[in-house]
């Protein structure tokens, strides 16, 4: 059995960038067996097992302590793991996979530039249409927490797991909260970010689990990685 499990994204650009990032620090991540097998190892570090997971699965695997280290987005950790600081340590922000979780409204809503406007419009919308203004998102916890802190009322969150920018045109939502990196999809869908509508800035980040079993061997394996990546000690506490 391996002493330390490292979870990395199982496919796509995020995986490529993760492999490059580690390679840049002299750590070679390699797949075991075929290209299609979701397992791997770190060359020259036999105690470390590479676990290939969907980026969305990595937060709960870390929180449950089934992997010691994992690469995922800040947005996913903050959304999926309530009070994440009690179970995880942020080890290092990796400088790629940048994305902002933002609140956006139709660009033609010329009377709405900030959250305060959105709140006022929500009250009027409810009076006019008979239901609470709908905000489409898959980040329910982050968006609800943000709007509570800002004191917004008379809205409802509607779940959207993809193509969220299209929900306004399709009349299933009045506004959206979603991840954007360049903002191009928002513009193409005639939406605009509110001036104070930045909910969270995210990027790919290495997290350590405080709930995983950290044996002496796990700690030694971490120390070997940390020596190359220049990571702090004590991330498991």
């Amino acid at each position: 059995m391996s002493a330390l499990k490292l979870g990395v994204p199982s496919k796509g650009r995020l995986q490529t960038l993760t492999i490059d990032w580690f390679a840049g620090r002299g750590i070679e991540l390699a797949r075991s067996g075929s290209e299609r097998e979701y397992a791997g190892h770190v060359v020259g570090m036999n105690d470390i097992e590479l676990v290939l997971l969907s980026a969305g699965e990595i937060p709960k695997e870390l929180a449950a302590g089934r992997i010691h280290l994992g690469v995922t987005g800040i947005d996913l950790i903050h959304e999926k793991i309530p009070l994440w600081q009690t179970r995880l340590t942020e080890v290092e922000r990796m400088g790629f996979g940048f994305a902002d979780l933002v609140l956006a409204v139709p660009n033609a809503w010329i009377d709405v530039t900030c959250i305060e406007d959105l709140d006022a419009v929500a009250a009027r919308f409810r009076a006019e249409h008979g239901f609470r203004l709908r905000i489409a998102t898959k980040y329910h916890n982050l968006v609800r927490g943000f709007l509570r802190e800002k004191g917004v009322a008379d809205y409802q969150l509607v779940d959207s797991q993809g193509a969220t920018e299209g929900t306004v045109k399709n009349l299933t939502a009045e506004a959206i909260a979603d991840i954007t990196s360049t903002g191009e999809t928002l513009v193409a869908n005639h939406l605009r970010i509110l001036s104070d509508g930045l909910i969270l800035k995210s990027q790919a980040t290495v997290y350590a689990s405080k709930t995983a079993k950290w044996s002496a061997k796990s700690k030694a394996a971490y120390a070997a990685l940390a020596a190359k990546a220049v990571w702090p000690e004590g991330v498991h506490k």
Partner: protein, 374 residues
Amino acid sequence: MSNGLRAEIKAVAARLQQAFEDAGAVMREPDSLQPAEVLLDLYGEDIRARAYITHDPVLGEQMLRPDFTVPIVQMHMAEGAEPARYTYNGSVWRKQLAGSARGPENTQVGFELFDRTNPAAADAEVFSLFNGLLDEWRGFGAIAVATGDIGILQAAVRGLKTTDRRKAALLRHLWRPARFRQLLDRFGGRAPVPEGREALVAAAAQTSSETLVREAGPLVGLRTVEEIAARIVDLAEDLAEPPISAGEYEMLGQILSLKSGSVAALDSLRTLQSEMPVLKAAVDRMATRLDALSAKGIDVENLPFEGKFGLTAMEYYDGFVFGFYAEGRPDLPTLASGGRYDALTRVLGQGRSIPAVGGVFHPEALVALSGGVE
């Protein structure tokens, strides 16, 4: 939770229920699963973070009841005779913050009084009933009480010499103190107007809101150009409106910071009333209530009153509010709390309404105070 502790909580709850029945209440047993829509419309999206929501293939979204008041009000509005007194005794479920010592399932035993004849007497009846029943626990430590009156703050806002729109915005956020303060600062001319608003209003006056919307590109979504234009008209009016006067701004601050015995608080409010006569009805109600409480043997001289008490509760109170706490035991939740919620009956009454006041005991907290079985 151990069986012994559970049994003790149930025994306390049963005794309180009996006391409420002795006081004339009819026992009611609302369903544990309530339609989520009613509660979401009432409390807003925030309640999702507090309540357990589940999905039924036929009934749709359902919620494990987070309180009894709403289903009791619905029952009364659908079928109730007047006046009516109800009690209930059962579990409510609320998600607790991580690290909280409280479990998600807690017992509530309550008393709700629907009576349109004499609200002051009804307030006094409920308060003195709760106060008296707590005697049993006073031997285990001092019990502190807090009271307030949300109706006075509402009256003060309604009495501001400003537009109905500003008053409605303030009243809508009465239960969100930070946002309320922000709006008050805006309307009081103490916070800047959001950037771009003046330019927008000026541009709309030059051409038209409709033209500006068209120029901004395709309008997607349900909100119409007429709705946008109507709001711009309102924004223009609001920009032209003078700020709430410094005197009124400070008066609201004084009401919010009131903290004294109830008689002294009444005196302060009478002084404020001389400058803001619109407060009279609400302050008169408080005076009548203090008389009614006094008649029930409550020492109103020393009954604490706080101007902002009850404003952070996720409830629908709009008049007298009260809470009982174990002094020096911040680890324990409120022992009992309650208040008047006339507006809630209007919201749930489909056109009808009835003045209502009630309260609820938290038997888990009472048992913890008496050092119950661990």
